[in-house]
């Protein structure tokens, strides 16, 4: 059932190509897909019916099965993905009107949606990983939608590389845990949580998984890819890079919360990095001028808040995290869409060029104000609830509460400042430098933000009636022993409310003195944050490539003789290692009356080999010397009675000499590459290698095997194979297939000479 739904979503990604003709309504048509799916998933109703488990065997050998596991947490995400999906597709219909390649765009957006659905509903962690990577890939394609712009390509590359570092590390982590538990099912993991945490490999696995989640959710120090990803078309930013994909890391952490939540690393690393990201993101947002970048940094900040909350790992903090997740998706998706509308209608996103849009774009102004208020955390909007809960959760942490509270308050003050400042600069300021006269937004583009803003308002005023049950079941998925927590707009007058008021007050104060504060922040930013992670990232890549180029030039120098020396060097090392290891396993050689003759011939061979080395000899001389070596070798064969072999050796030797001589005039002039040192080096290497081979040959000659298959040949050559000459019988009968191969080699070699000589380039 779930499998069908996801397969349907994946297949639906081909749909846009079918509707290529429907230029004006493509987005609307595509939006039907998430609508249908939403309808389907709503009917599952995990709130009332409990968790849904669906199992399909795929590759049991690998532990990789298409198992789905939908609990409250998954449901929350599914509704988020599909709901946002409808709005985004509708919005894209207006936004993408004039771009070529729309079908590709919709297709990848749908594919992304399918992957995201799969990710949140996967019950098998490897399946989760598969979908995880799919989201990265589709994100890559969407970021590089304007692929002929270098910025887009770079940003896409950066995003994919960073998320794939994370992807690989979570794969590693999953496999480690999987090998501890013996299964990749999330239910098994949760059931055996204590087994996992008590294993000595669990720390490594946890760190790997956290790393993966951090890259995906743009935590410090990997935060920089997210603002750069804003080169993507705005629907993508709204959908992937604020509402859904970047939450995948958060989702993963929430999923594993029941297992690792109690560990020290979890409770140390997540709040630490989360709070840093929270503060930094909010601060960076203030000093930006591009609307989308501002929102991107606030997204980073919010993700930091989420990670921090998950890391605290108390009932309250989890509730706060889920609440804030919802809140953030609602307002941030809307904000991106609005930014896109402004960009389209006015022609710029720079807040210092924009201004006074209140008059020409009243509806947009209203919606934006509403949404920004939510972001600032002012009641009665839902943003207020989110912030309240963050404070509530931070306060009751045992040791580090003051630290966390400080970070949260500072971060939120910047959020408030950003909201006010952006709203003022874009809509209420008098002066402006519009590149073109603003026009009203079309219905399809305004539809999404409008609904989202109203949702913010509705959920904020009536949390009990609207979102309470869904959040409740999601919390239960993470904290099973959880007691019911009511979500109310009005908590009573307490410390938390005080903090909220203080935050808004401080933010407004900063805004009032914006002429002093904002420029101060900008200079501060420029002075202190001189390291740009993104630039650094590319310069590291550049340096890495140059280093590899150098290394490749060193290793891959193109000199044949040095390749050969390397090979023989490594061979000598290996062989000598083995000889030393197995020293002493040889016995004495047997001498007979002819051994001295053999010794003389061997000496002649060795001497001739050495004499053929100097380059001054010239080719013909070397060939004659090689001929001499060949004859001597033939003599050795004769002493052992191998007449056939000796004859063949002499024939081959002579014919080789002849052929070489025939080819010689074609060769280029002989150049002496080697100097004296080179020759000495080669000689040393040759001696080392040759002696190794010699020792091995000696060892094997003195330790012959007891019964060899050649005994059989000697015995049955005449009686069964009807031949006295064993060599020939072996060649044509016992091992005839070898000979068949060899004559094929000969024929093919003659073809080689043919091609070399006939296809010669002049």
């Amino acid at each position: 059932m779930i499998l069908t739904a996801i397969l349907f979503a994946i297949l639906a990604s081909c749909l846009p190509f079918l509707f290529m003709k429907a230029k004006r309504t493509q987005g609307w048509l595509v939006a039907i897909v998430p609508a249908l799916l939403l309808f389907g998933f709503l009917s599952l109703d995990t709130v009332n019916q409990g968790n849904i488990v669906e199992q399909n065997n795929w590759l049991p050998l690998l532990g990789l099965n298409i198992n789905f596991y939908i609990d409250g947490l998954s449901s929350l995400f599914i509704y988020l993905i599909l709901g946002m999906g409808i709005f985004v597709f509708a919005y894209a219909n207006g936004y993408m009107k004039s771009y070529p390649g729309k079908s590709r765009f919709y297709s990848f957006l749908l594919l992304f949606m399918a992957a995201m659905l799969g990710l949140v509903s996967a019950g098998n962690m490897i399946l989760l990983f598969i979908f995880w990577e799919l989201t990265s890939v589709s994100s890559f394609m969407l970021i590089s939608f304007f692929h002929d712009k270098e910025g887009a390509r770079k940003a896409a590359l950066q995003a994919l590389l960073i998320t794939s570092i994370g992807g690989l590390s979570i794969l590693g982590g999953f496999i480690i845990i999987g090998s501890i538990v013996g299964s990749y099912e999330i239910q098994d993991w949760i059931a055996q949580a204590s087994l996992i945490t008590s294993s000595k490999y669990s720390t490594a696995a946890l760190i790997l998984i956290i790393l993966g989640a951090f890259t995906k959710s743009a935590q410090f120090p990997f935060h920089f890819w997210l603002p750069n990803a804003m080169v993507a078309p705005t629907p993508v930013s709204a959908y992937l890079h604020s509402a859904t994909m970047v939450k995948a890391g958060v989702f993963l952490l929430m999923r594993l919360g029941p297992i690792f939540g109690p560990t020290d690393i979890w409770q140390f690393v997540l709040p630490l990095f989360g709070s840093i990201t929270f503060l930094l993101g909010a601060f960076f947002a203030v000093v930006q001028s591009d609307l989308k970048r501002i929102f991107a940094y606030t997204t980073v900040s919010s993700l930091g808040a989420l990670v921090m909350l998950i890391g605290i790992d108390t009932d309250l903090s989890i509730r706060a995290a889920l609440m804030f997740l919802l809140v953030h998706s609602l307002y941030k998706g809307a904000l991106f869409m609005l930014a896109g509308i402004i960009d389209k209608r006015v022609g710029t996103r720079d807040i210092y060029l924009l201004g006074g849009l209140r008059k020409p774009m009243p509806i947009v102004t209203t919606i934006t104000t509403l949404v920004l208020t939510s972001m600032a955390g002012v009641p009665p909007l839902i943003g207020f609830l989110g912030k309240e809960m963050i404070y509530e959760a931070s306060i009751q942490v045992p040791v580090v509460a003051p630290y966390l509270i400080t970070f949260s308050i500072l971060g939120n003050i910047f959020m408030v400042l950003t909201s006010l400042y952006v709203g003022y600069m874009v809509f209420f300021r008098k002066e402006h430098h519009w590149p073109k006269q603003p026009q009203r937004a079309g219905i399809s583009m305004a539809f999404g933000p409008l609904l989202l803003a109203s949702a913010s308002l509705l959920f904020g005023v009536l949390p009990q009636a609207s979102i309470q049950p869904y959040l409740q079941s999601a919390i239960e998925a993470i904290k099973p022993e959880h007691v019911e927590l009511k979500i109310k707009l009005w908590h009573g007058f307490n410390k938390v409310l005080l903090l909220s008021i203080a935050t808004v007050f401080m933010g407004s104060l900063l805004f009032m003195f914006r002429r002093i504060t904002v420029p101060f922040f900008v200079t501060f930013y420029k002075k202190v944050f001189t390291i740009h992670f993104s630039d650094r990232f590319f310069s590291i890549i550049d340096r890495f490539m140059r280093m590899n180029q150098r290394k490749a030039d060193v290793v891959q120098h193109g000199y044949q003789r040095r390749y050969l020396s390397t090979i023989f060097l490594f061979a000598s090392i290996l062989l000598w290692y083995i000889i030393v290891q197995t020293w002493g396993s040889r016995s004495a050689v047997q001498y007979d009356s002819l051994s001295w003759v053999l010794a003389v011939i061997c000496l002649i061979i060795v001497g001739l080999s050495f004499m053929s080395l100097p380059a001054r000899l010239g080719r013909v001389s070397v060939i004659t010397i090689i001929g001499g070596i060949g004859y001597s070798v033939a003599a050795i064969y004769l002493f052992y009675g191998a007449i056939d072999l000796a004859i063949t050796q002499i024939l081959v030797d002579s014919l080789t000499v002849i052929l070489l001589v025939l080819v010689l005039p074609k060769l280029p002039r002989l150049v002496a590459f080697t100097n004296a040192r080179g020759v000495v080096r080669d000689m040393v290497l040759a001696t080392v290698f040759g002696s190794a081979m010699g020792i091995i040959a000696y060892t094997s000659a003195t330790n012959p095997a007891a019964n060899k298959i050649s005994d059989f040949f000697e015995e049955f050559s005449l009686s069964i194979a009807h031949g006295k000459n064993i060599v020939n019988v072996i060649l044509v009968d016992f091992r005839g297939i070898d000979t068949l191969g060899e004559i094929t080699v000969l024929v093919l070699a003659s073809l080689g000479i043919y091609t070399l000589l006939k296809f010669k380039q002049s």
Binding site: D644, H722, N725, N728, G736, T739, L746, S750
Partner: protein
């Protein structure tokens, strides 16, 4: 160096070499020799002939006519194998016959000999091919 002496010797040697090579081939199963050695020897004979007569007009044509030998050799070798497969148990399974030839008496023949002839032809053909190509390429003076 295109001397009469060499040409004279080459004629005699060539014939001798070819005859000996066939001889070596045929008795190879029992005495030193066989297809490979025979083929190489025949190749040597052709080399010496080419060296002596390389200016001769017809040489290239003659050699060219001999080039298909290698394919014939392959066919024979493969054929003997397939024959073994058809008549016997396995690929390359040796099959022996007693041929009654008038005059010579009974001859014990088998597919290994056929195989050996294939080897011989292939080796000779390859040698011829190589020499032909090198010669055409060089245009010796």
């Amino acid at each position: 160096m295109n001397t009469t002496l060499l040409q004279l010797a080459a004629r005699a040697i060539r014939i001798m070499m070819l005859v000996i090579s066939v001889f070596v081939l045929l008795r190879g199963h029992n005495q030193p020799g066989g297809g490979f050695i025979g083929g190489l020897l025949a190749g040597g004979g052709i080399v010496i002939y080419v060296i002596a007569f390389h200016t001769h007009q017809l040489l290239s044509k003659t050699l060219r006519a001999m080039a298909p030998l290698r394919v014939i050799g392959l066919v024979l070798a493969l054929g003997s194998g397939v024959l073994g497969m058809v008549l016997g148990k396995s690929f390359l399974h040796a099959q022996w016959f007693n041929l009654n030839i008038p005059l010579l008496g009974t001859l014990h023949m088998g597919t290994p000999l056929l195989f050996d002839i294939g080897v011989y032809l292939a080796v000779t053909g390859v040698m011829v091919m190589v020499i032909l190509l090198l010669m055409e390429d060089r245009k010796w003076n």
